[in-house]
Symmetry: C2
Subunit: 399 residues, 2 copies
């Protein structure tokens, strides 16, 4: 295990009908005049908006609305939010949504506290290792699981003018609270449940596939959490309104990304990096892109650390251990993972997702742009490696 520091101060409020208590948690943070941030109209259709607003009104909490957050949330809306915070003397921000809404709220929070003369984009997002100010505070009502931003220190924003998508990761970014009612998932389309399950599992796999030795305790915890997603993802996919399935999956999604599971481990994240280009170029859902890129990455790198892939196969995917032929066990684990993605209707190859193969060189180039020299923690991947992995993903299913 490597030395580590871990701190996650977010109050997790989890269970049936907890959204009705959201005003109590805002009051505990001394919020009296709230900016309510959300995306499109879905929270108005499924009743979440009404529950939140009724809780705020019941507690006499003033609020101003900022809606219209889109996937890959934009800097312009963040700047609009900062303007409202200053003009209306907002003292707390409530994000009602998934990762994009939460990240927008985080950026508005620290952007509002930025001292005069500093620019949120140039001085924070475009500077590696920058420290955002503490911010006025963010609370979350989670409506779409998987991104994990509700209990994480990360905030990713896209600058639509420059085309860059950049993150600020810092302890000051943890939300004050995350209110999570698994019932909000009842209305998610099955495909979104599948993509969310793939994303959660990936957040765990990116931490699991490590070159760090002596990590048994986090390995064991990760394996348990991964098996939970393996079991409950397909169940929730087929039975969207069963609370018992939704609660397991939703808690897994939050725990997957607060980084307790990653403590003391070098992490990988190459599949995420390669997927980001895939979804940037072809507008494919992030979880679907991960279902394509992760098995391809595995097929390319497993020989680097066969014991770890055997452990994954046996302890997570339920493969039968063969000491005499460990490679066979490792490959069986990868095949089972592909079958699991397919069982929820996810693509596992370029052709499944109707993605052409002519941009592979360009995407590979983009993966390593912005001062990156290599991708991946388990095995360092350079341009040619990344091209080969995209080609494996392109060829998958054709054999």
């Amino acid at each position: 295990m490597n030395n580590f520091v871990w701190k996650c101060p977010t109050r997790l409020v989890f269970g049936k009908d907890v959204i009705e208590t959201v005003a109590d948690h805002i009051k505990a943070e001394k919020g009296t005049n709230v900016l309510l941030v959300y995306g499109g109209g879905s929270i108005k259709k499924n009743g979440i908006y009404d529950k939140v607003v009724s809780s705020l009104k019941g507690a006499g909490i003033r609020y101003t609305e900022l809606s219209g957050v889109q996937p890959n949330p934009r800097l312009s809306l963040v700047l609009e939010g900062i303007g409202i915070v200053k003009r209306e003397k907002i003292d707390f921000i409530l994000a009602v949504g998934g990762g994009s809404v939460i990240d927008t709220a985080k950026a508005i929070s620290f952007g509002s506290a930025l001292e005069d003369g500093r620019d949120i984009w140039e001085d924070l997002f475009m500077k590696a290792g920058s420290v955002p100010p503490k911010g006025i505070g963010v609370g979350v009502v989670l409506t779409i699981p998987a991104a994990g931003s509700e209990m994480s220190n990360s905030c990713v924003i896209s600058n639509e003018k420059t085309g860059y998508k950049r993150g600020v990761n810092h302890e000051n970014n943890y939300p004050a609270f995350a209110v999570i009612d698994p019932q909000v998932c009842y209305s998610l389309p099955p495909y979104q449940t599948a993509c969310g399950s793939a994303d959660m599992l990936s957040h765990m796999m990116e931490r699991y596939f490590t070159p760090t030795s002596n990590v048994d305790i986090t390995d064991a915890i990760l394996e348990g959490a991964m098996r939970t997603v393996i079991t409950y993802g397909p169940l929730a996919y087929r039975n969207p309104k069963v609370y018992e399935y939704r609660e397991q999956l939703m808690l897994a999604g939050t725990l997957a990304h607060n980084n307790l599971f990653g403590c003391g481990r070098v992490q990988d994240w190459a599949s995420h990096w390669m997927e980001h280009e895939l979804s940037a170029f072809y507008d494919i859902a992030h979880g679907a892109g991960l279902a394509i890129m992760t098995p391809a990455w595995m097929k390319y790198v497993y020989k680097e650390n066969i014991p770890r892939f055997v452990q994954f196969a046996v302890n997570v995917m339920g493969s039968r251990m063969s000491i005499a032929d460990q490679e066979k066990t490792a490959l069986d684990g990868i095949a089972r993972l592909e079958a699991w993605f397919k069982s929820m209707g996810l693509p596992t190859s370029f052709s499944d997702a109707k993605i052409p193969t002519d941009k592979i060189e360009t995407m590979a180039k983009h993966v390593l742009e912005g001062g990156r020299t290599a991708a991946g923690g388990l095995r360092k991947l350079y341009h040619d490696d990344i091209v080969r992995i995209y080609k494996i993903a392109a060829e998958a299913g054709k054999e």
Copy 2:
């Protein structure tokens, strides 16, 4: 799963030689004038005291010492500490030790912030559900693992005048940071490693044995963490100076008790309650008492929830699953747990620990004193049940 709220803001600083950074973490909490709380002379013998003091001096942090904390930490020392804090205008408390030292520091911290006219013992410890003030702040350098107080909200103090031992559990009690270097365990006597392993495992088992259904994700995480203790307890017991064993065990001890693993579950704690009387009456180590009481409790209650005991046997203790005879599998798990305790030289019966049987009625009475109507979450236990469990513990090993 039941609805739950979980918040644990303690900064976990874990790894080799991290004690040398303790001053940085005090400064981050704005501590400038520190009360250094510790127990006897062991931290002077093993060099931890020197490391802490050298870090404080290097950073120009003033400190006043309060030593002499004993197991079952006493109210009188807490009151002495509060006096020093007020007299010396102390602004932060550093606990260097195990559970007793940390709990003493927590009580001094909130006791110092108590408004005039309120009595720390009568108004906080003796009142169920009392809310301690925020306190001046506590940091921890952990020297003895297992109690888990370094990342918990609990604080247990004994009033040597009245004979009562009582706790105040509140979110305000979480330490600001816990600095944990597994190397501090190198000098622990093997018996203390064994007792610590039993205590950690018990903190997990008290959460694992629940009547709550649909708790797969916390079950799976708990099982992984328990297997880690099962593996590394005996290894560290036999090889005290191997870092790789100490780190797994020490992290397990901290995670066992910050209550993430207990989220959404009714917990049991009957074995702990019964053990407290055993160690109060016979001055036996807490971990040793748990090794006696836990198997006895299991033998008495397992029929209440055979599937859960089968799951424990198979997923934690490595028993072979027998669907046709689940009771046999459940009992095999209990037998394996007893064998595990014995493998580290721990007693699993009254006679192993040379405890007489004449106080069983009295101890059982004490368990349910102080307004308690029953013990245990998996199965409610009343006086006669508790007497029978003590008798099972008394008879164990004689068959």
